[in-house]
Structure formats: C-alpha cells, structure tokens
Symmetry: C2
Subunit: 164 residues, 2 copies
C-alpha cells in the first residue's frame, strides 16, 4: 500500500484534483451563506456585513478598542478600518475619541444607539444561521467543527512554511 502510493506519486507528477475540488466546495459553500447573510442584513436592517462585524467586535469590548485592535481582530487593513469607523461615527453608532494617555491612539466604542441596534441585529442573525444549518445533525456540526479546525491548522502551517 505504501509502495503503491509512493510509486504513483512518482509516476504521475501529482494528483491534487481532490484537494482542488474541496477548496472550490468550501469556497462556494461559504460564499453562498455569506451572500445570504448580506442580503438579510441589508433587507432587514439596511446594514452591511463589515459594519455588522465591526459592531460585533465592539459589543464584546465595553471599554472600547483602538483602531489597531479592531484591525487585528477583523483581519483587515488599518486604512480600511479608518473609513469604516468614519461612516459608523457619522451614522451615530460609534463614539470615537483620542486616548488621554497616547495622542496617536483613537479609542472607539458603541454608542447607546449602536449597542441597541447591534443587539437587535445579533439576535436575528443567530436565528438565520440556525436556519441555514437546519439540515445538519448535531453530529454533523461537531464533525464539521473538528475537520475545519484541522483544515485551518493545515492552512496556517502552509502560511508559516511560506513566510519562513
């Protein structure tokens, strides 16, 4: 069996068609769900996904966060956060102030309005997700969690290898 596998690996340069199909399926599945969530957020609350995600971060940080913190947590660029925050301050959902101890730092937090709206959205959002995964059994969910964790680890290793 081991010999066979090795022989094959030498004969045909490599067959990675399965992995490729897995990647495509992962991507389609995620995109399908993501675009459904975007639609519902837009329709129901007239809000975009990036705005929702930013508010979700801030909801977990009652004392506020710096723009850098947000940028790291959301895994998006600094410049991106600057613009996003600007629009959310504009609409009254966020409060932004310069830190007392370091004038380079901007601290943002949810306003009362922002928090109230987010909580409302988050509640519905959770039911949408449940609805979307309704056909999966508890066991399916557990297995997916496990395999996705493994896949994520594998991807992180690949990133590491390249960065090295």
């Amino acid at each position: 069996m081991t010999l066979d596998a090795e022989t094959k690996a030498v004969e045909t340069p490599e067959d990675h068609a399965e992995e490729l199909r897995l990647w495509l399926r992962l991507l389609t599945c995620t995109n399908l769900i993501e675009s459904e969530i975007r639609s519902r957020l837009r329709e129901r609350f007239d809000v975009t996904l990036p705005r929702f995600d930013l508010m979700a971060q801030l909801d977990k940080a009652p004392d506020g966060m710096t723009l850098s913190d947000v940028s790291k947590r959301m895994m998006v660029s600094n410049g991106n956060v600057t613009g996003l925050v600007e629009r959310l301050v504009e609409s009254g959902h966020l409060d932004r102030r310069t830190s007392d101890t370091d004038r380079r730092v901007q601290v943002i937090r949810l306003t009362k309005l922002g928090r109230a709206e987010f909580r409302k959205m988050a509640g519905e959002h959770e039911t949408w997700i449940a609805d979307i995964f309704a056909d999966l059994t508890e066991r399916d969910v557990r297995e997916l969690m496990r395999l996705l964790a493994k896949a994520k680890g594998s991807a992180q290793n690949a990133v590491q290898r390249r960065d090295a």
Copy 2:
C-alpha cells in the same frame, strides 16, 4: 429524551451558539485560505483572484462565453464583469467581439497570451492548494466534501424558504 428536548426548546428560546461557532469557523477558515491564495497570485504572477477566476471560466470554454454566462458562472453582477473584462482586454489576456447573430451580445475568449499565462498559473495554483491541505488525510478530505455538500444543500434550502 424527546420530551426533554422539546421541553428545553420551549423553556429556553433556543440555543444556536454551536451553529454560530460553526459559521465563524467556516468563515475564518475560508478567508485564511483565500487571502493566502490572493497573496501568492499577486506575488508570483501579479494577478488578482477575480481575474484568475474569470480566466479559469474561459479556459473551460474554448469557443468563448457571453458576459451573462460569465456573470452567472462566477455568481457576480453584470456590471462587475464588464469592468473586469475591460481590464483584461486592455492587458491583452482577453479577446472581445460582438456576436454576429445578436448585436447585444459580447463574446469573450482567452487570447493566446491569456491562455498560456492562465495554464502556468493554474498549475502552480493546484500545488498551493495541495500544500494548504497537506495535513488532511484522504479520509478527512472525503468527509469534508460530504459534510460541506450537506451544508450547502441546507443553505440552499434556507434561501429557497426565504425567497418563497
């Protein structure tokens, strides 16, 4: 057991925390891989993922495709395709002509240059994906494929229900 479950369902409005965590994991996992692929495409070939995806569609259609076809296949808006195609024609990767039988229709196909470059990129791309999923066993891949298919079906059902 059944009674218990039902009782619980009535008492606590619902607990969908697991599904929510599954969604977040699916999203992070996909984003991690996608951004790694974007980086590599950019570094190695100075090309963006949307351009690569569009060329991938055209590589499978030697006789060309209409913009609408591309738009459906890629699941993006018409206006998006218009701009994408414009830039790829500009750079010499695509050939675009008005259909003989219907002057509304634009038919695009890869140029010789476009095809050559795409083939080169596609080859490396496949090895990147294999590298990214290297820690998964064959069995893991099969299981993930199966569960993602189920998840996709579940999501499609949810979309259907909402559209209805």
